[in-house]
Amino acid sequence: MPPPPPPPTLTDTAGPLGPGEVAGTVKPVDLPRKPLVLGDRSYHWVTEKVCGICEQKTPTWWWWSFAIACGIASFTLMGLVYLVATGVGVWGLANPVNWGWAIVNFVFWIGIGHAGTLISAVLCLLQQRWRTSINRTAEAMTIFAVVCAGIFPLFHVGRVWFAWWLFPLPNANWIWPNFRSPLEWDVFAVSTYGTVSVLFWYMGMIPDLGTLRDRAQSTWRRFFYGTLAMGWRNSSRHWHNYEMAYLLLAGLSTPLVLSVHTIVSFDFAASILPGWHTTIFPPYFVAGAIFSGFGMVLTLILPLRAVFGLHDLVNQYHIDAMCKITLATGSMVGYAYAMEFFIAWYGANPYEGFAFINRAFGQYAWAYWIMISCNVISPQLFWFRKIRENTALVWIISIFVNVGMWFERFVITVTSLANDFLPSSWGYYSPTIVDIFTFFGTFGVFSVLFLLFLRFLPLIAFSEVKALSLPQADPHNHDHPQNQRGQEARG
């Protein structure tokens, strides 16, 4: 039996090889990519799946959920009506803790929003294609979270009818806002964040709204989606400008999202209170915000996937990726907790040192240890694939993350205020029933908005899914089975 011919190598041919010959000789390694959409789906399937959700008859469960959500939201309404009618005294705020649940809830909700922008902007710049299955939902979550967040500072000012004084508009005394105050920076940061998130969300939705318009059967749907779609007609010349605009908005949102929570952290860090006056706050707050936001994305997307049967579009790949980001940011948060303690000791400031010992072992130790177990310990479970693949467990851990991050803001706000420099002015803060009702109700406000979004708007950015997550969308992928049709027609 003759020996098999040796495999061709670069040195087999006489003389140096030209660039074309090298390309012809060396075959690139073909590693199989994990599919982002399972089941080898077609474009039409994706359209039908996502549009079908807002075109079907309103499901019964939706009405039930909506009614319950409205009921919960009414707690916020009643809480606020009572507050405005009576005065801020109905909240548990009293010396020395004059920042209580209101600021805690504000930072909690605004932090949740951050994952939406991170998914839509930062992951877009990093070309993470798995984002397309979840970015629309996450962006919607951002906007509704900002709405919930805005309620608290607005009503915290006390006389809410003067809230417009926050904006630099001339009031009766011609006094302008103090631009040295981080609270004023907050007004600009949060209102910009809300506005830009809406713009980004809306622009991303225009092509999908065009699809809904083209499929619309009834007149009101054609009018509703037609108006929102702005006459979008999928022209490639339009796509060209649209993609540039999308990239630019992603580029603008990235520094924005980092700045918003940085400025929120300035509310604390620019003060002189022990436990607040630290330079680690901006990055620590941003990491915490992304952490809590991904917790909330998981909390929302896992039930949606089950209810609407989106398992091909949001598959284990996406859940894995989200769990890993939660793990990474959760570890960053844990590192920040440790580093705060180290600096408190290393800084040799007795007040700072006391503030941290007091956090962990003082009168609010129960809150501190809830925070540590939810934020530092529970996400560490995501190291294990078995746990990431157990959807129910992932969902439960995501709830823990949400709880933990609320407690983080509570610990930061309340422990530093309750026990500051002078033991004679120490106090203990407890929320009143009005505080609790108002915060509880914001989950209803959020759910009402989110349910309306599910009912009327496309919950997955399907034109992006088609472009980035389906392999047949690559114009050079001639070998894909779904790209054979045109070639057969040509013969």
Binding site: F188, H238, H240, L248
Partner: protein
Amino acid sequence: MSAARPQDGVFGIAATFWTAPDIYHACEKVRDAGYRRWDSYCPFPVHGLHHAMGLKRSRVPFFTFIGGMLGFLTGLTIVWYMNMDYPLVVGGKPYFSPVFPFPIFYELTILLAAFGTLGGMFITNRLPRHNHPLFDYQPFLQTSDDRFMIVIESSDPAFDPDRVRALLEEAGGEEITVVAPGAQAA
């Protein structure tokens, strides 16, 4: 607007394609044939199609830049004006400096740049335009689902129905149809 042509009343000739590679190569052919007033329609942005169509770089960044500059200067102006209008000594510091209110400039830069970007996208795309002759061509509505289409418009100086039809056929187009607003083309 231009001289009367035999194609008056005709918007253009449309050809349907079914896959991304097909529309990509067809666009290359139409581009190389030298047509100017034509367009392709895809349910999603096909990667690199602007090269196949010979499009220039988008002008949206110009609007972003204008918006961003406007935002920065607005921030600078309002803080300067308001500290001059009502001079308030805070911590013995000067009334104005570009440093302490920087977050205001920063946020307003981003805010107006974002508006500039969205506005620029609408301006460069000549949107909103709710009425377009192609919307009357029923199969066109499927380009937002899974069809791809090339339309060579009758306003192109080189428009000749027979040659356009031949080109689109050669490029692999199916259901080649004359799109005439008002009259539903068969």
